[in-house]
Structures are given as structure tokens and as C-alpha cells.
């Protein structure tokens, strides 16, 4: 089986607290750890989910910083489209966010990334580089979450692209970046477990790291994925059995 997927089939998610959780950080951390994160592979595994890498900040420095961030990989973008519109399970998953996240325009949401090489100056969505095809569930994932240094209105996204271009790829086969007005979230994937971390110095020239870590593997071995309790920032790479029907044999 080949479980590698295109970066164009990865949903890149940024989540801000919303609803009753705007002023309830503990409640937000609980519902994310006990329901939303384990619920994602639980709900979507049978429909073609290929990988799920989720991250949480336990205390966000200001309201412009997303508290949750994730890569949600599907066997294809068409498969995602089918799931979310034509099946009850997909519609249900897609509809669970409103009570927990701020879903207003410009806040929480997910997008497919575009190739960095094809971006124009006005593009502001997520992008990928280094390579397009990877199996994000296996291997290592290195994560950097930075906040812009000083006032950068309107320039930080472009500066982020330039800084990404200065990173050394090494053995890594794909990098995905979610650039914001004042924040950047970067995931880099290496097919090998235990890969040496990325040197993020080029990003630190324009941003202050909020989080720089390697994703922790979370094995789904029981009837339900393991629940999470968050006392510190954490990035998790969820390991689950994929449905072979949706992948290349």
C-alpha cells in the first residue's frame, strides 16, 4: 500500500476559541482534548483520512494567535469534497465546530495549500514546498510556530515566504506553511523517524518562536483514540489504521 498523499489534499486548520469558550480556556482545552482531537480520526478514518497532526497552545499571548492548529490529510481533495457534502459522517464532522471555535470570517477555518512556487504577491493562504507527495502519518514532523517581531502589517506573509526559502531541506520531503498577518505555523515532514530537527534560524530572524517542537506520536490502539489532557503546548501526530480502499495499491 502507498499511503502517501499530495500536499494539495491536506487541510490546513487554524482554530480560535469561540462561543462559550472565549473566556473559558480550561473548558476549551478540555473539549479539544477529550472530544475534538480524538474525534477527528475517530470520525474520519473510515472515509479516507490519511493523516492528522494537531497542535495546541495552552496559553495564547493575544487574540491574534490561533490556539489550535492542524494538518488534516485525505486520500485526495476530491475525497474530502465527497465526504463533507455527500455523507452524513462528513457533514456531521464539519458541523461540530460552531459551538467551540470562532468561525467568523478571518478567524477559524481550513484551506488546502498551494505550491509556493506558484503563489503571486496577493495570495495569503497556506502553501507547500520542497516536495508535494508524502505520508505524513509515518516518519517525523518538525513544527515551528512563530509570532512576528514588531510591526509588520502587510509585509509579514511575504517575509515568511522569503524566510522559508532560506531553510535547509536536508532529508525532509515536504514543508507546509500557514502564514498569517502576524503569525506563521510551519510543519516539515521527514520519512525517517527520529530525524534531526530543522534549523529554524531563518524564521527566527523575523519571528519569535511561540513553539518549536517535534510532533509526538499518539497511537490509537483501543476502541477510541486516546483522550488528551493539556498542561503545556503540544503537537501530536495521530497514528491510526487507514482504510486501504482509498489509497493506491
Amino acid at each position: 500500500m502507498d499511503f502517501r498523499i499530495s500536499a494539495k489534499a491536506m487541510r490546513v486548520f487554524r482554530g480560535f476559541r469561540g462561543g462559550a469558550f472565549v473566556s473559558d480556556n480550561a473548558g476549551f482545552l478540555k473539549i479539544v482534548g477529550q472530544t475534538f482531537m480524538p474525534g477527528t480520526p475517530y470520525m474520519l478514518r473510515g472515509g479516507g483520512l490519511a493523516s492528522y497532526t494537531s497542535g495546541i497552545l495552552t496559553n495564547v499571548p493575544d487574540s491574534d494567535v490561533p490556539q489550535e492548529f492542524a494538518l488534516i490529510g485525505y486520500s485526495s481533495a476530491d475525497r474530502w469534497q465527497h465526504l463533507m457534502t455527500d455523507t452524513l459522517q462528513g457533514r456531521m464532522y464539519n458541523s461540530t465546530h460552531g459551538g467551540v471555535y470562532d468561525m467568523s470570517v478571518g478567524r477559524s477555518g481550513a484551506q488546502f495549500p498551494s505550491a509556493l512556487s506558484g503563489l503571486d504577491a496577493n495570495d495569503c493562504g497556506p502553501f507547500y514546498t520542497w516536495g508535494e507527495v508524502a505520508d505524513w502519518q509515518t516518519g517525523s514532523i518538525c513544527v515551528y510556530f512563530g509570532q512576528a517581531n514588531g510591526k509588520t502589517t502587510g509585509t509579514f506573509r511575504i517575509a515568511t515566504r522569503t524566510a522559508i526559502g532560506a531553510l535547509k531541506q536536508g532529508d525532509y520531503d515536504c514543508l507546509i506553511c500557514s502564514p498569517g498577518d502576524t503569525t506563521m505555523i510551519v510543519w516539515a515532514h521527514c520519512p525517517a523517524l527520529g530525524a534531526a530537527p530543522i534549523d529554524w534560524t531563518a524564521l527566527q530572524a523575523i519571528s519569535t518562536p511561540i513553539l518549536s517542537t517535534t510532533a509526538q506520536r499518539i497511537l490509537w490502539e483501543e476502541a477510541e483514540p486516546p483522550l488528551q489532557t493539556f498542561t503545556a503546548p503540544k503537537v501530536m501526530n495521530w497514528i491510526f489504521v487507514r482504510d486501504e480502499r482509498y489509497f493506491l495499491q
Binding site: 475534538f36 452524513l88 461540530t96 459551538g99
Partner: protein
């Protein structure tokens, strides 16, 4: 689906839902969401966690005052504790997060568990559901009549609650033959009641509801239609069309439990 095995449960295991749609959603979108996601999700996910009957009703909008809910539902669980115990399952917790998208939870989050009408004198407590007899019943089978009415403008809330209480006490002490279950909840501006019976007792159940309807302006008054959901969670399926079938007694796959 094979003929279901009767599965009577206590009225104390009922949950009585009155939902007001989110202010950010128009009624057409509300109906679309409940039909394509919310109601089938409840019907397919929760029997495994102990749901035994599910009877949702969309309330017609023409002439419906704002104080009357946009949707009602009865849910019967295997035991009075089963609803709360169900939240240990991830599927149920995920399902519960659907509420925030569709409902105005400030108005919809009211008491759902009924108490007995026995010993109650005078006015009903507003927004407190009551069951009117103690018998176990299988609400998924048989016939269920449902009335939703608005408080008439010339009736004070207190008198409205008193009349509803009088009706409930009367049905409790003088239950029509063939009726094995009844529930009522009354707010300051609406009343909702359900009577469960065998098909042969439908005329007497209807007559009993007529007495309650005389104290209200009926907004919905009908039999809930049995409906089996033929699709699964991963099927290519658009969901239920609640604009054509707004009042349902979902035929659950209880054999899965």
C-alpha cells in the same frame, strides 16, 4: 429492517427537547441542517449508546409566535441514567457539539428530564416537563399524537400554566383506555404535549388532546409518522427532507445495541 422487538422504558428515561433556532440561521437553513445532519446523526449514532426512541418534530412557521419553539423532540433512553452515561462515548460527545451551530442555546437549554405529575396541584412549573403516568412504554412503536400550542394573548401566563396543570392532572387520574404514556411541558408562552397509545385508542387520545388544545392556539397537532433511515454514515445520501416530513417517529436500529 426486521420487525423490531418491543422495548418499553420508564417515562423517567425521557428527555423533552424544545429547540429555538439560532438567531444567525434562517428557518430554511435550520430545516436543511436538521434534516441533512442533526436528526439522522442522532438516529444513527445514539442507539449504540442507549437511545430507544426518537421523535423529532419541526414546528410550522406560519402564524407561529416567537415564544413557541421551532422544533421539539422526545428522546427515550434505556434507563434514566443512560443519557448521561452516553457521554463517555466519543461519538455522543461529538454529536452533542452539533447543537451550537443550529440552536439558540440560551433559549433552548431548559430542563429536559420530566418529573411525575402525581401530587402536583395547580399550575405547572414553567419549562418543567412532566410525565402523566408511570407505565413503561415503547414510544418507537404504536401511535404518538403531538400538540404544540401558543398561549392566547388574552390569557396570562399564570392562568395558561394553571389550565395546563389542570389538564395534566385530569389525564393522570382519568387516563383513556389504550393510552400508556403522556408527557407535557408548558412555558410561559407555549405548551407541548405528547400522548402514546395503540392505534385503536387514537380517537380517545385525540379527544384528550382536544381538551388541552381548547386552552391554546394550536400550531402543530398531528400524529408522528414512523420513518426508517435507510442510509448509513458513509453512504452517498443528502439526508431527510423535513420540509415534506416534518414530524417523525424515527425507527431506530435498536438491534445494534
Amino acid at each position: 429492517m426486521s420487525k423490531p422487538t418491543p422495548c418499553p422504558v420508564s417515562p423517567r428515561a425521557a428527555y423533552v427537547w424544545r429547540g429555538f433556532k439560532s438567531t444567525t440561521m434562517d428557518y430554511k437553513d435550520f430545516v436543511q441542517f436538521l434534516g441533512s445532519v442533526f436528526i439522522p446523526a442522532c438516529a444513527l449514532l445514539q442507539p449504540r449508546a442507549g437511545l430507544r426512541a426518537y421523535l423529532p418534530t419541526m414546528i410550522p412557521q406560519p402564524n407561529k409566535p416567537g415564544g413557541v419553539p421551532d422544533q421539539t423532540a422526545l428522546m427515550f433512553w434505556a434507563t434514566p441514567c443512560a443519557h448521561d452515561e452516553a457521554t463517555v462515548t466519543l461519538a455522543v460527545r461529538v454529536y452533542q457539539n452539533l447543537h451550537g451551530d443550529a440552536y439558540d442555546m440560551t433559549r433552548s437549554k431548559t430542563q429536559e428530564q420530566p418529573i411525575t405529575i402525581a401530587g402536583s396541584i395547580g399550575a405547572l412549573a414553567p419549562e418543567q416537563p412532566y410525565y402523566l403516568n408511570e407505565d413503561d412504554a415503547d414510544w418507537m412503536l404504536g401511535t404518538t399524537l403531538h400538540l404544540v400550542g401558543a398561549r392566547p394573548d388574552n390569557l396570562s401566563s399564570q392562568l395558561f400554566l394553571t389550565r395546563a396543570g389542570s389538564w395534566a392532572s385530569s389525564l393522570h387520574t382519568d387516563r383513556p383506555d389504550g393510552v400508556d404514556g403522556a408527557l407535557i411541558v408548558c412555558g410561559n408562552d407555549y405548551v407541548a404535549a405528547w400522548i402514546h397509545c395503540g392505534e385503536e385508542a387514537r380517537p380517545s387520545a385525540h379527544a384528550a388532546l382536544s381538551d388541552l388544545a381548547a386552552s391554546a392556539i394550536p400550531v402543530f397537532w398531528d400524529v408522528l409518522a414512523p420513518l426508517a433511515i435507510k442510509a448509513g454514515l458513509w453512504d452517498n445520501w443528502p439526508g431527510l427532507d423535513l420540509s415534506t416530513t416534518p414530524a417523525l417517529n424515527i425507527q431506530l436500529e435498536r438491534s445494534l445495541t
